[in-house]
Amino acid sequence: MAWVVSVTLCGLALGYVGARAAYALDVAVGLGGHVVPGCLAPIRLTFVDPPGDVACLRVLQNVRDAWGGETRMSFEFPMVLSDAGDCEEVIPLYDVEQPIRVELLAASGMVLAEQEVGLRPEEKDEPFPVGVGALSALFADRAVLVSPAELPRTWSAYAAAESVWIGRTRDGLDADRWDALACWVLSGGTVVVFTGGDFFLLDAPRLRDLLPIANPVLMKREGGTRVLAGDLRDDAAVLLSKEGVPWLIAGRYGGGSVLLVTTDALSLDHEESAELLRHIPPARALSLVAATSDLLDQQSVDHPNTWVATLLVGLVVIALSLLVARREWRPSMGLALLGVFGLLALSSYLHTAPRVVNDLYRTETRVSVYGSLGISVSCSALFSSSPRAAEAEVRLDGVPAEVLPRRFGSGSCDLSYVDGTAQMKLAPGGRRFLTALGTASAVLQARLTGDAEVHLASRLPRRIPDALLLVDGEAFPLPAIEPRDVTLHLGNPLPSGTYRLGGESGPLERLLAAAARTFPLDQGAWLVAGEVTEMRRTGDGLRTKVRQVSLYVVEVGRD
């Protein structure tokens, strides 16, 4: 009997080990294996054999503060394989001292394979330049070098990059990676593209969209060096020239910069490389945390009026006094008593019905940026005024990155993210700030059709009440944007320097000020529009007051 049990147990153990071994995987974290604590980072899983019954990927991360407080974060994604057979997701990394645990889960939730990945050797303190392909020695020494296949396909994965330099590659970049880079530049990133004779290795529709020149053609400079030339776009500027031929051209795409080096990556000498390095601006990522924190602080609080409560006490005392003052007691007094206190109770109800205290206050800000592509940057800020620990659930555009406090109680910053929804606990009086980066269809477009006319095409599901058109620093107020195509005549501009959107010093203005730090709204033509909505949600025994502030920033084309 013992023999049978032993064999059965051994068989089960071997089967278990075998099942895990069947999903041997290789895990790569970060840009070229490098991460910056607190930033989003790509995580790529490569499989020995394509996983058949793996339903999702879970990444677990323990984070410790300097005082020993520990919190646990879990990120779960449905398993989606790329054409190359790998799986790429983006996760925030907080504590490089702790390894992360990567698990492959079956639909039943059973762990099919798991692996621990250490991060410490690849830590960087600040965002860093990323070089793709072959680059000259000066660049290669300064950048984290990655192959084109290692470049992430999701724009939020570039959060740790200061700039991306694209050098000589054998096969260029695929469309997904160009789109990811374009979205990142749209959000404030910086891309340097070395072209020259390598241009046609890189050439792609999205690259042409990004380049600060139109109609690119290859030319030969004296000495035989091949340079890329073309028609300068409106917002492009030649930064450096050699023998009258531009070799560094800067252009703008959304909030970011595209630097075109018209020669190839290996033809620059040391001085030219050093000169070029001085002209590369770091990425200016759009951050909504400070603005959202301010807006959360300014969110109005619901509660009954203290003076009304005091008046109520006074009325009850008066009613009691009148009751006592009666010398004779008659049955009709009982009815009067019921009537008076019923009336007071009804008054209490009518006063308090719209002033019920909330357990959670939530401010959600979102800036949607539309060019030829669309992205969204959002931030959800929560504050708990509940006397008990409150469980909150937040829908997000992408995996959330959080600003963690320097010191947290064990478990107080736990977070579980499952495919677009984050669940977390808030201690009484606690705050959480979650930021998410996502892609979006460019559902709002604008084009200047003349000196005083703008054509708007809105595919948004609703009307946007507040809008401004900014043309070279001048602000033209627009009527509400309806969800259809419309051509509007521009009126008189607002006084110089005023970008009034929504109410004065209102949430839209605060969000616009935050966006203006990344997007050069005083240059070129921009449509900015926004809306503020407030609602109260009740669920899981919690009452939440939600304020949503949405800003649309659209780069306006010109006919």
Binding site: H303, L312, V316, F341, Y349, T352, V356, N358, P387
Partner: protein
């Protein structure tokens, strides 16, 4: 000497006034201050302790004690005594009704708990009134058992908080607002109900005895 039964008069209104003022003050104090979220941080959650309900549970108990004493002073006895005590306790509840409706705004989604607290405090107040009536001699002068009565009252409210909060009206109020499991909620009601079931017949019998007149 027995005076005619009366719900409330000039001689017996002070406990009701105390109830109305103390609960009203607690209600006003329970309202979180501040116009915006910034004003709430970081102490707002402390104000959202069920201060009003604590005050309500406490003063309803004290009202019961005072009503028992007043009943003894009036020389009330028998089943009518119990009926009038119940009516006076319900009058106290009626006086607090506007506050209870108001407090709904401070504890949204816990209307069921407020109803349960209403029932619990009625039971506790009636228990205290009956206990007080039993310990008082039906004479118009002050009873010597007064201090012991209030000491026992404090013990009932305070001691269970150390180990079995549900047995104290204050702990029960907190637990009901926190959404305690139904079985535990029953325990909160079981103590005053059981004690009342024992004391009420005693009060009817002893209070009805001529020996006390």
């Amino acid at each position: 000497m027995t005076r005619p039964h009366i719900l409330i008069d000039f001689d017996s209104w002070r406990p009701f006034l105390g109830l109305v003022l103390f609960c009203g003050g607690a209600l006003v104090f329970s309202i979180p201050g501040g116009r915006v979220v910034r004003d709430l941080a970081p102490a707002s959650y402390a104000l959202r302790l069920p201060t009003f309900f604590y005050a309500y549970a406490l003063t309803m108990g004290l009202l019961g004690l005072a009503l028992g004493t007043a009943s003894a002073e009036r020389g009330e006895r028998g089943a009518p005594m119990l009926l009038w005590l119940t009516l006076r306790v319900l009058l106290g509840q009626l006086l607090c009704l506007p506050y209870l409706v108001f407090s709904r705004a401070l504890f949204p989604g816990r209307e069921g708990a407020v109803v349960l607290i209403f029932v619990l405090t009625t039971l506790v107040s009636l228990l205290c009134a009956t206990f007080s009536r039993l310990t008082e001699r039906p004479t118009p002068w002050r009873s010597s058992t007064g201090s012991a009565k209030y000491l026992l009252f404090l013990c009932y409210y305070a001691i269970p908080l150390a180990g079995m909060p549900l047995l104290s009206p204050l702990g029960a109020v907190r637990s009901l607002l926190d959404g305690v499991a139904p079985l535990w909620a029953l325990l909160a009601f079981a103590v005053p109900t059981a004690l009342l079931a024992v004391l009420a017949p005693l009060a009817v019998r002893l209070g009805g005895s001529r020996a006390h007149v």
